[in-house]
Amino acid sequence: MKPWPPSAARQSLISCLSCELLSKAPVNLDDHLRMRCPRCGATLHARKPNSLARTWALVIAAFIFYIPANVLPIMTVTSLGKTQSDTIMSGVAYLLLHGMWPLALLIFFASVVVPLLKLVILVYLLISVQLRSRWRPRDRTRLYRITEAVGRWSMVDIYVVTILVALVHLGNLATIRAEVGAVFFGAVVVITIFAALTFDPRLIWDRLEQPHE
C-alpha cells in the first residue's frame, strides 16, 4: 500500500470554519461529546457532522416524496371547457404521442431520470461508505460531483409549471393550475439537493486511509 500524504485528520488536528483557528482534537472522541473552537466557540467537525445519518434521512424522505410526485398530477390545463390533469409521466406520454420526442426526452430525463439517478447514486455512495469500500474512490467522488452539479436542473419542471400558472390565466379559454404533484416534486428536488450537500465525499477517502482489517 502506497503511503498517503499526511492529513489534518490523521494528525488529530481540526480547523475552525468560523475563525480559521487550527486546534488539536482528541484522538478518540467519545460519541456523546461535541467539540468547540477554543477561540470563537463554534462547533468543530472533522467531517460534515452526522453526514451519513443526515444524508440517509434526506434520501429516504426524498424517496417517499418521489412516489406522490410521480403519481399525483402536477398541473391541470383547462382549455375551452376541457379539463385535463397531467402527471409527469402522462405529460411525457402526451408529448411522445404527438411526435415531440426531443422535448419528451428532455422532460423525461430532467424530471424522472435525474432525480431518481441522484437518489440511487447517493444511496450507492452511502452504502459504499458504510461498507468501507475501497473500490474506485476517484470515480465515486466524480459521481458525487456530477450529482451535486446536475441536481438543481431538475427544478426546470417546477419553473415551467410556475411560469405557466402565472402566465396562462385566460379565463374560459385556457387556465393552468398547479397541482399537489408539483409540490411533492419540488420537495424531492430540494431534498435531494440537501442530501447531496450533507454527504461528505471525504468519507469516501477516509476508508482508504484506514488500514486493512
Binding site: P6, R10, Q11, S12, L13, I14, L21, L22, S23, K24, A25, P26, V27, L29, D30, H32, L33, R34, M35, R36, C37, P38, R39, G41, L44, N50, A53, R54, A57, L58, I60, A61, A62, I64, F65, I67, P68, L72, L80, G81, K82, T83, Q84, A187, I191, T198
Partner: protein, 558 residues
Amino acid sequence: MSEPYLEKTATEPLPEVVLEQRSRFSLVWLIPLVALAIGAWLAYKTYSEQGPTITITFNTAEGLEAGKTKLKYKNVEFGQVDHITLNEDLSQVIVTAKLVKGAERYLTDKTRFWVERARVSAGQVSGLSTLFAGAYIAIDPVTEGQRAYAFKGLETPPPITADTPGSRFTLRAAELGSLDIGSPVYFRAIKVGQVTNYRLANNGQDVEIKIFINAPHDQLVRADTRFWNASGLDVTLDASGVKIDTASVVSLMIGGVAFETPVSLETGQPAEPSAVFQLYPNRQSIKEGSYVRKSYWLLHFTSSVRGLTVGAPVEYRGIRIGQVIDIKLELDLNEVIARIPVLIEIESDRLQWIGKTPDYDNEREFKKFQKHLWNQLVAKGLRAQLKTGNLLTGALIVDLDVYPDAPSQTIRWGKSYPELPTVPTSLEEIRNVLTRILEKLQRLPLEEIGEDLRKSLASLRQTAAETEKLTRTLNTSTLPEVTATLNRLQKTLAAAEKSLQAGEKTLITAEEALAKDSPLQRETQRTLKELSAAARSFRLLMDYLERHPEALIQGKTR
C-alpha cells in the same frame, strides 16, 4: 502523535478543543418522518376517497376517452371513465368508471346514464358545450331502489330526469303518427309536457305513448280529459272557407299532443298518476270519439246476408258500437251445411262503464272480466240479428239487442273468436209483420160490416130491377117517338138550310139594292120621307082620336 509533518509546520503548541455533551438524537430524522407522515396521509386520503367502480354498457364509445371522459351530474364532476373495453361478442362497449366517494347512494337500478353529446333535433339543440370540451357521461341519480353497480347506458338523453316535478300518463293510440320522444304536449297551445317514450302495446293492436306533464300543469289532467294528436296541419275545406288548425310550428315538424277537458256530465276528478288515456287522431275526433280497444266476435247467420257488406255498422238499439269486419261462406263437409260466418268488431271503449272499471293494463284480468260480462249479457238474451238499415238500398246492419224470450243460448268461446248467438232474421221479421197485421185485423168490426154489406146488396139488387124496368119502358115506348122527332128535326133543319140560302141571296140582292147611288136608294129615301109624313099625319090623327074618341063614330065635330 509525534509526526514530523506537524512539527515542521506548527511552531507553537496548538490549543485543545473544548469538549461538551451533545444531544443524542439527530433532528435530521424528523425529515423522513414528516415525509412518511405526509405520504401515509396521502395514501390514506387516496384510499378513503376512492368511490365505487361501476360499469356501463353503451352501443358505441363515440366521444368517450379512457382516463379523460368525466361523469357529470348538473355539470358537477361525479367520476371519471377508467377504461373502455368491448364485450365478448363485440356488440357493446363496456365503460368502467370510477366515481367519487359517496356516490354509492345514487347508484340504484333506476339510475340512468347516457352520453351527453352535441345533438341537433327539430325541437332543440343540446350539448353544444361538448363540442369543445368533449362528450361526457351524464347521470340521472335516483336514490330509491336496489343498489346496482352495472348499468345499461341510454343511447339518447332521457327527456325527463328524476328530479323534474310532474306526472306521467299513458296514452293509447291506433298508431304513433309523427310523434317521437320529446314531442311536446300542449294545453291551450302552451307547452306543458312532452312525450317520454312509446312502445307497442302487449296486445299488438295499439301503441302506448308515455307522456310527462310538468308540475303544476299535471293538475289540469282530469279523469275525463281528452288527448289528441296535434301533429301537422288540420285543413278543413267547407262552405265557410278553408280552416287550418295547427298547434305550433314546432309540432308541425316533430309532432305533438294536445289535451283539453270537455265540459260534460261527469265531474272531472284529477287523473290518477299513470292513468291511461285515449289519444284521438285530431281535435274534432275528441267529440266524435275514436276507439282503440276492440273485441272481435263471430256470428253465424243461416239466412241470406244479401245487403250486408264489410264495414256495415253493428248497432245496439240504434247506437253504433262497431262494424262488420269480414263475411265468408263456409261449407261444413261433415254435415253438408253452408254457413255464413260474419266477423264483427265491437269497440268496447264506446261503452261508458258504470261501476267497477276494468283494469285495462292487466291483459288477463281484462279478458276475464270481458268474458264474464258477455256471458251475463247473453244469458240475459243478448242476440245478434240482421236488420235492414236502408230500405232503399236494402243494406243490412247487424243489430244487437236483448230478446228476453229468445231460447237460451251461450257464447261459444272458440279458438279464434268467440261466437255470439244470433236470432233468425227474415222469419222473425215476417212473423212480426204478420202478427201486427193480424192484430189490426182482429180489431176490425167484421160482423157489422157484413150486415151492412148484405143490406146494401139487397137494396142494390132492387135498384137494379127497377132500373131494368125503366130501361125496358124506354125501349118500347119512348124510343120510336124520339126517332120520329129526330126525323122531323132533320127535315126542319134541311128546310132551314134552304131558307138560309134564300136569305143569303136576298141579302146579296139587298146589298146591291142598298148601294148609295142605286135607284132603290133614292126611291127608298123618298119613300121614307113620305112615310114619315104619313106617320106624322097618322100621329096627328091618333092624337085627335085620343082626345076625341067619339069622332070615330060621330065624325069630326066642327
